[in-house]
Structures are given as C-alpha cells and as structure tokens.
C-alpha cells in the first residue's frame, strides 16, 4: 500500500480542522477560549501508544468508537488534576455532584467529538457513525485506546491534537486511532498519482530501524555513564514545518545538534533537560563534581556523549542502506527547546512545507533521567531513502569490525 506527502497532509489537515471544530463547539458551550496548538500524524508501535503521558498522570475524558469509511476509536481527555476547573467552566457548581460532573464531561465530549468526526465524513463524502460516549478515568498511557486487534500489525497510525486553554496551563488532547487497513487504504486512494509515493511497509521498517538505533544509543549512554538506560519510544510523525518547533515550548534543554549529509540529509538533536544533563555528565566524569549547576566540564562531557549517541543512532541506517551517513562535529546547545528547533526547521523549511520528524526517548527506572533524540530529515531525500530500502536487509544494522581489520 502506498501513501504520499499529499495524502499525509490531507489527513493531517482533516484531523486539525476536526480538532478546531471540536474546540469551537466547546468555546460556544462554555466560554473557554482555547486553541489547537499542534496536530500530527504518527506511526508508532502499538505498545508505545500514549507513552508521552508518563506513568503516573491521571486522566479523565470520553471515548467513542466510530465506524464507516474509517473505523476505530477516539478519545478526548484532560488531566484529572485540572478536571474540577474544567467542570466548573462547563457547569458552574457542577463539582459538588460527581455524577453531574461526569455527565457534563460526557455531554461536552459528545458534542466536541461529533464536530471532530463530521468533518472527516464530509470530506470523504460518506458517513461515519459514532457510538455514544463512554466516560473514562485511567492512568498514563492506558487512557488511550489500543488499536483494535483485527490483525497482527505492530505499528499503528495515530492522529493527535493538543488543545490549549488560553491563559490557563490546561491542555485537552484529542487522539484518534483508526484501524490500520481501512486508513491506509483511504490514504492511498487520496494520493496524488503524479507525486512520489511512499510504501507504508517501508515507513514501518524505517521506524523499526530507528528503534534499534535508539536502543544502541541507550546502550552507549549506559556504557559511558553507568546509568541503566532503556529505549522507550520511537515514532515517525508528520506535521506542517512550523508545528515542529511548537511542540517544544520554553523549557530549557541541553544537548547537541549535528547536520548529517548523504541520503537522507538533515539534522539530528540529542536533548536532555537540565537536571538529566547534570546527572548523566556526572556519570561520565571520572571524578565527583557534586555541582548542582551545569558547568563547562559538564557541557564538554555532554558534547561527546551527544556525538556518540548520534553515531549510535544513525549507524544502523547507514549499515542497512550500505552507504555512509556523514555528520558534522556536534554543536552544544543550551537554550529554550523551541528556539533550538526553529533554526533547524527554518533551514529545512526553505525547501519543504511539511516535515517528517523522528522522535525517540530513553529513560531510566531509578533516577530522574530522560533523554530524547530528534531527527529531521530532508523530506524528499527520506522518500528516496525509503524507496531504496531493501526490506530484506532492514535488520542488518550492525557493522562487523573484525571482518575488516
């Protein structure tokens, strides 16, 4: 089954416009002024769905099934901690009565999600029915519906929108997880015949290679710092180019950036939050620093770790494709996340309107430690790379040094 940039864009726009329609309904009903920040479509391992919600955060919301040209499940959720503010806005005084609060969440969810689904049906020129909403309360990733197990695919497409309540630190999320087959079939029907096609299977294989690259980068972290590190998620997402930096916000990150050349070319970032950067740098250094501030010594250690993680991440692509992927020496970055991303998005944005973004995350159980890798490949070259990708070689990510020397 083949898709293309055109069909990804069309479907991403449908999800975005659907989320905007849902948000308008909410504003009309409640007076809550909110905007849809980012909508993206991601291909992700089924078991990693919703990993971004962490392990402890409790969510409430509504879930529906939908059926027709598209079949699957969708949710509208928000953090439980903020639910009283939201219920108060929906039904002043509604918090006093729990079943009242619940039914108001259900009802608003119902109306919002009708707005979300109707746009799809209209565009596709067909009907999509949805089931009545179910009120849900769950923790972390369990809040998301798994894709229905109609077959053995281990990767699924998910559409996600973040809706921010203006002036309040409250976000709503709409996630839609359609069944894989009908979705890819529809997307391939909405493909521009003239355009360059992307075989979906190869996108999935590339995702799998990325996962192994993340695994290798995690092993490198562990070997160098002694911090037991696990690869958590890797996914490939598609969004308008200006939405790439938007996902990062004002939080400060430390890490490295490189430009890689070859096919594909692009940019690769290794980022740590400030605390994780200090933790991992301490682990790297031969002597104790015991500093709670990020020093130049920490930064030098991070720079080399970033370099090694970058290689670990891209070497697998090079070995599968049997060519070399060169990268520049790492540049150390220490700034607001969004400001780190925007020059890279802008450099790509001179030649493309959308971006594929490859996101990986690694974590450790015992410590407050998290590291993220983000790759932004040139869109056209990624497509060429996928074209050249030999699915039978997709697991040949290792090079054999001993054979050569």
């Amino acid at each position: 089954m083949k898709i293309d940039v055109q069909s990804l864009d069309t479907f991403n726009k449908l999800a975005h416009e659907g989320a905007e329609e849902a948000t308008r309904s909410m504003t009309q009903m409640t007076g809550i002024e909110a905007t849809v920040e980012v909508t993206k479509i991601s291909l992700v391992d089924r078991e990693d769905l919703g990993e971004e919600f962490g392990r402890e955060t409790e969510f409430v919301g509504v879930q529906f099934g939908f059926e027709g040209a598209l079949t699957g499940k969708t949710v509208l959720i928000f953090e439980r901690e903020r639910s009283s503010e939201i219920v108060e806005a929906l039904v002043p005084g509604g918090n006093a009565d729990e079943s009242m609060a619940q039914s108001s969440v259900e009802e608003i969810g119902n109306i919002m999600m009708s707005g979300f689904i109707d746009g799809w049906a209209e565009y596709l020129g067909t009907t999509i029915d949805h089931s009545p909403p179910t009120y849900i309360e769950r923790t972390g990733k369990d809040i998301l519906p798994g894709s229905p197990d109609t077959n053995e695919r281990d990767q699924v497409f998910v559409f996600s929108s973040e809706i921010q309540w203006e002036g309040e630190n409250v976000s709503f999320y709409i996630y839609m997880v359609p069944e894989y087959e009908p979705l890819t079939k529809l997307m391939s029907e909405h493909r521009d015949e003239e355009a360059d096609a992307i075989p979906v299977e190869k996108l999935a294989a590339f995702n799998q290679m990325t996962r192994e690259g993340t695994q290798r980068a995690a092993e490198n972290v562990e070997m160098m710092s002694g911090i037991e590190t696990e690869a958590e998620v890797s996914q490939i997402s598609f969004a308008p180019i200006e939405d790439v930096p938007k996902q990062f916000g004002e939080e400060t990150y430390v890490g490295t950036a490189v430009e890689f050349t070859g096919i594909p070319s692009g940019f690769l970032l290794v980022l740590f939050d400030e605390q994780s950067a200090i933790t991992v740098a301490e682990g790297l250094m031969p002597m104790e620093m015991e500093s709670s501030e990020l020093t130049d010594k920490h930064k030098a250690a991070i720079e080399e770790l970033g370099n090694i993680m970058t290689s670990g991440f891209v070497d697998g692509w090079a070995n599968v494709l049997q060519r070399s992927v060169e990268h520049t020496p790492p540049r150390l970055v220490h700034d607001m996340g969004q400001a780190i991303l925007d020059p890279l998005a802008a450099q790509l944005g001179q030649h493309q309107r959308h971006a594929f973004m490859i996101d990986s995350k690694m974590k450790t159980e015992d410590l407050e430690f998290e590291s993220k890798i983000h790759a932004l490949p040139n869109e056209q070259e990624l497509r060429e790379t996928l074209d050249d990708l030999d699915l039978d070689r997709a697991d040949q990510t290792e090079a054999n040094v001993d054979q050569l020397f």
Binding site: M223, N319, F405
Partner: protein
C-alpha cells in the same frame, strides 16, 4: 613505551584517552583536527596516532590517508563513534591499522594498541 599522538576534537575524549594511555605510553601531543594531526605527525613521527573520524576542518580519514601516503610504516588507529561499515571500509582504504568504536572500555583500547604496536 610508545609515543602516541591523540587527535580528537572532544576535550572530554582526549582526557579519557590520556588517562587510559599515559601509564604505559608517552603522549607527545593532543590535537583537535585532521590538519593539526598531519602537521604534528610530520614534525615528530610518533609510533602511533589515535585518530577520531568526525573532526572539524579535516576529518580523520583524510588525515590518515595523507599520513599513510608519506609514511607507509606509520601506525594509525581510528578511535571513533562511527559504526558504519562503509566508513570502516574507507578507513581500511586510507590505511588505518585498527578501529575502536566509542564508547570503549579500557581493555579494548589496550588490546588494540598491542595488536598494532607490539612492544
């Protein structure tokens, strides 16, 4: 005691290599790019170069190629984070005598040096 030149743009990595090597070897200099590596090699002709690949100005494979052309009996071990087979082939072509991938453990560095520069 072999004379060793370390070429790596990362201060952190140079310190790490120095710590591993200085007990048994004489570190004659540390440089940060391929141009400096070639210059220092020509002046001092050490027994061994520990050569990074990704460096600014000139990369380690080009530097190795030039050193090996002029001094075929020199010893160069690539010491790099790059684990790509195509790159390793380029390194072999340039004449590299060994290839250590980062992150490394001390014993593997010692062993690689023993293989290349028998004492």
């Amino acid at each position: 005691m072999a004379e060793v030149l370390i070429a790596d743009d990362s201060e952190f990595m140079r310190n790490l290599l120095r710590e591993i090597l200085e007990e048994d070897h004489d570190i004659i200099d540390e440089v940060e790019n391929g141009v400096e590596a070639v210059e220092v090699f020509k002046e001092q002709q050490p027994d061994l170069v520990m050569m990074d690949i990704v460096m600014p100005i000139r990369d380690g494979i080009e530097a190795t190629d030039e050193i090996k052309n002029e001094f075929p009996n020199s010893n160069v071990i690539m010491c790099t984070s790059v684990g790509q087979e195509e790159k390793m082939k380029e390194a072999v072509k340039a004449g590299a005598d060994g290839y250590i991938t980062k992150p490394f453990q001390k014993p593997s560095v010692i062993e690689a040096i023993k293989d290349v520069v028998p004492s």
